[in-house]
Symmetry: C2
Subunit: 288 residues, 2 copies
Amino acid sequence: MSSTLADVSFCIVGLGLMGGSLAAALSRAGCNRVIGVARRQETLARALELGYVSGGTLDLAEGVRQADIVILATPVRDIIAKIAHLGGMLNSGALVLDLGSTKVQICAALDHLPPQIQAVGGHPMCGKDSSGLEEADPELYLDKVFVLCPLERTTVASLDLCNLLLSSIGARPLLLSAERNDELAAAVSHMPYLAAVGLVNAAAELAGTDDLVWQVAASGFRDTTRLAASDVTMMLDILLTNRQAVLEALSRTQAQLSTLRLSLEQEDQNALAALLLTARAQRKELYP
Amino acid sequence: MSSTLADVSFCIVGLGLMGGSLAAALSRAGCNRVIGVARRQETLARALELGYVSGGTLDLAEGVRQADIVILATPVRDIIAKIAHLGGMLNSGALVLDLGSTKVQICAALDHLPPQIQAVGGHPMCGKDSSGLEEADPELYLDKVFVLCPLERTTVASLDLCNLLLSSIGARPLLLSAERNDELAAAVSHMPYLAAVGLVNAAAELAGTDDLVWQVAASGFRDTTRLAASDVTMMLDILLTNRQAVLEALSRTQAQLSTLRLSLEQEDQNALAALLLTARAQRKELYP
C-alpha cells in the first residue's frame, strides 16, 4: 500500500452519523475510492449525492470484496454479527477497523477472523445526540481522541495505516487495551448517558402530577440531559456489551449521590461544600 | 409610578452574573436610574464603565434609600439576611423583588417586611456555569421563563410593575407559589446539578487509579457535567434552603438509577429498552 490514502480502497459499512462522517472526511481528504454499504437504497443515493462516497451497495460481500480497509460503523452487536461473516468475504491482507464504543466483545470477535486478515478495534470519542446520514459532518472527528485497540495479530504496518487514516481526518490516536477503553468509556460516556436517562425519567414522574415541570426546565436541564436523546439501538448495544464496567461506574456514581444525600440530610454544610468544591475544581481543570 | 420604566429608580443589590445582566438589560431598555450595590469598589467601577449602572455604592442603606424597585441578586442566604435589614431602609411603597433560585424561605422573609413595603419573589430560569460581572449579558433573560411568586400582600399594581420589568428585558413571566417553584426547580435544576457533581466525583475516583480517564472524556461528559462548574456559594445556599424538595428529587432520581441498574444486571433487554425509549421520547418532545 502507498504511504498516502488516495489509492487505498475503503469500504464503510453503515452510513449513519459515524460512518457517514468518516466517509465525508475521507472523501474530503482526497480518498477517491470510498464504497458505502447501507441497508437502504435511498441512503446510498444520498451519500453519493453529497459526495461522501464514490460508490455504494446494499450487499456486504460485494462492498468489502475489493476493499483494502473495511470500517464497520453500525451498532456494536451488529458489528459483532457482521464480523462473524466477514472472514470469507475479504481480500487477503485487508484491514478491518470498527467504530464501536465498546471494545472487549468486538475485539474478541475480531480475534476469530482468519489469520491473513488484519484488524484493529477503534473507538472515536465524538458523536452527536442526533443520528443518521443527514447529521454527518466531515469535521466530526477533527481534534477528537480516537482510541485504537490493537489485537495480538496487529502488525506495525497496520497500526501505521490506522494512524495515517486518523491523521487524514484530523483525529488524535490513543492506544488502549480493549478492557481499559471499556472501563474508561463506562465512566465518562455510558454512565453520563444513564444519568441523563434517570434525570429525564425522574422529572417525567413529577410531570405526571405537575404539568408545569417542563416550563421551568432551562439550559441546565437541557445540557445535563442531552445524552438521553441518543439513539436507543446504539446505546442498548453499548450497555449490554459493557455490562460489568457500566455497573461499576453506576456503583461509583450511586455512592457519590448517597454521600451527597447524607450531607444534605444531616445539613452538614462543610461536608456538602467539600463535595461541591471538589467537583467544581475538577470540572474547571478539565474545561478551563 | 409611570407606565414605563424610564423614570423608575432601580437598585440592584449584587452585581454578579444575574444582577449585572439585569442591570445591563434595564439600562439597554432605557432605564436611566439604575443604582448598583456591590461589595467591592472595583465591581462598581467596572459596572459604570460598562454602562450597566448609572451609579453605585458599597452601602446597602444608601443604595436602596431612594429606589422604587429594589432587586436582590446575591446568593439565597445572603438575600434572606439582607431582607431582615431592609425594612427600615426603604421608601414607603417601594417594591422588593429578588432573583434567588429557592423561594419558600425568601418569601417567608419577605412576609416579615413592614406592611407599607411591596414584595414579590422572583426566580429567573437562566444562568451560566460561570459567574461574576464579566460574564454578565444584557440578553441573559431574553425569552427565558421568569417565575414570579406573589405574596399575600402583593397588589395587582406591583405585579403589573414586575410584568412591565420582565417585558422590558424580554423575559416570560410564570406565576407560581413559592412551594411549587421550589419543587419544580429541585427536579429540573438542583437535582441535575447534584447529578453533575456525582458524575465528576465518580470519574475522579476512577482517575485516581487510571490517569487516562480525562483524555477519553468527550462532548457528552462535558455537557452532562457542565453544571458542576457552578458557583459553590450559590449552589450551597440553594441546596440548604430547598432541602426537602431536593431530597425528594434525589429520591426519584436514585430510584430511576436503581431501576436502570436492575434491568442491566438482569440483562432484561426489553425493560432496559423501554426505559431508554421513554427518556428519549420525552427529551425529544422537550427539545425537538
